[in-house]
């Protein structure tokens, strides 16, 4: 493996920190919308459940 430069390490570290901060502070609107769509489809039986599982396009 190639030696990792300090800069790469620092960049990755900041990325990690930024990721944590983002996840913890902001409401994940897109994820919430996806979750809502899945649950509404199930409750209203709009689609067969298998189709609503993973990666179903929202429209």
């Amino acid at each position: 493996m190639k030696p990792v430069s300090n800069w790469a390490a620092v960049t990755a570290f900041s990325l990690a920190i930024a990721g944590c901060v983002t996840i913890n502070i902001y409401f994940p609107a897109a994820a919430a919308e996806k979750a809502a769509d899945r649950i509404i489809d199930e409750v209203w039986q709009l689609k067969p459940e298998a189709a609503t599982k993973e990666g179903a396009p929202s429209r």
Binding site: A8, A9, A12, A16, C20, I23, P28, A32, I39, W44
Partner: protein, 137 residues
């Protein structure tokens, strides 16, 4: 010293990936499943009430009696009970999703998201509450 940086690099990259991979909300807890099945069972009774306009979708993610005259007098008590039970479940659902994801304070945002999606997905003919009051889709 070099190996320390390498370790920092690897760990950070992993956690950055994890953090960004959280594109989904946790919605598969036993509590949420229980609420969902209770709601889908109730939906069989609610569906005709949505269609007749007796019940409408409010802009705050709950249900309301929109036109009580659409059901016979004798069944109005049942209508109110159904709406109240559904609203209890919906409030619990929004709260449970928020807590399941470690952020009870998200319940309001989750409620707003659902409110919009219930209305968007409602079939034509149902009554929904918009910014200018009730309207038939």
């Amino acid at each position: 010293m070099k190996s320390v940086w390498k370790a920092v690099f690897v760990v950070s990259l992993l956690s950055a990936t994890l953090a960004t991979a959280q594109g989904n909300l946790e919605v598969d807890t036993p509590a949420i499943s229980a609420i969902k099945s209770s709601m889908s069972q109730r939906h069989a009774q609610l569906a005709p009430l949505y269609a007749s306009g007796a019940v409408g979708l409010k802009s705050d993610g709950s249900l309301a009696v929109h036109d009580a005259n659409a059901v016979p007098l004798a069944q109005r008590g049942k209508l109110n009970a159904l709406v109240a039970a559904e609203n209890n479940d919906r409030a619990a659902l929004y709260r449970e999703i928020a807590t399941a994801n470690g952020h009870p304070e998200w319940a309001g945002d989750i409620r707003n998201t659902f409110a919009q999606r219930w209305i968007d997905k409602a079939p034509g003919g149902w009554w929904v509450e918009g910014s200018r009051g009730w309207a038939r889709k």
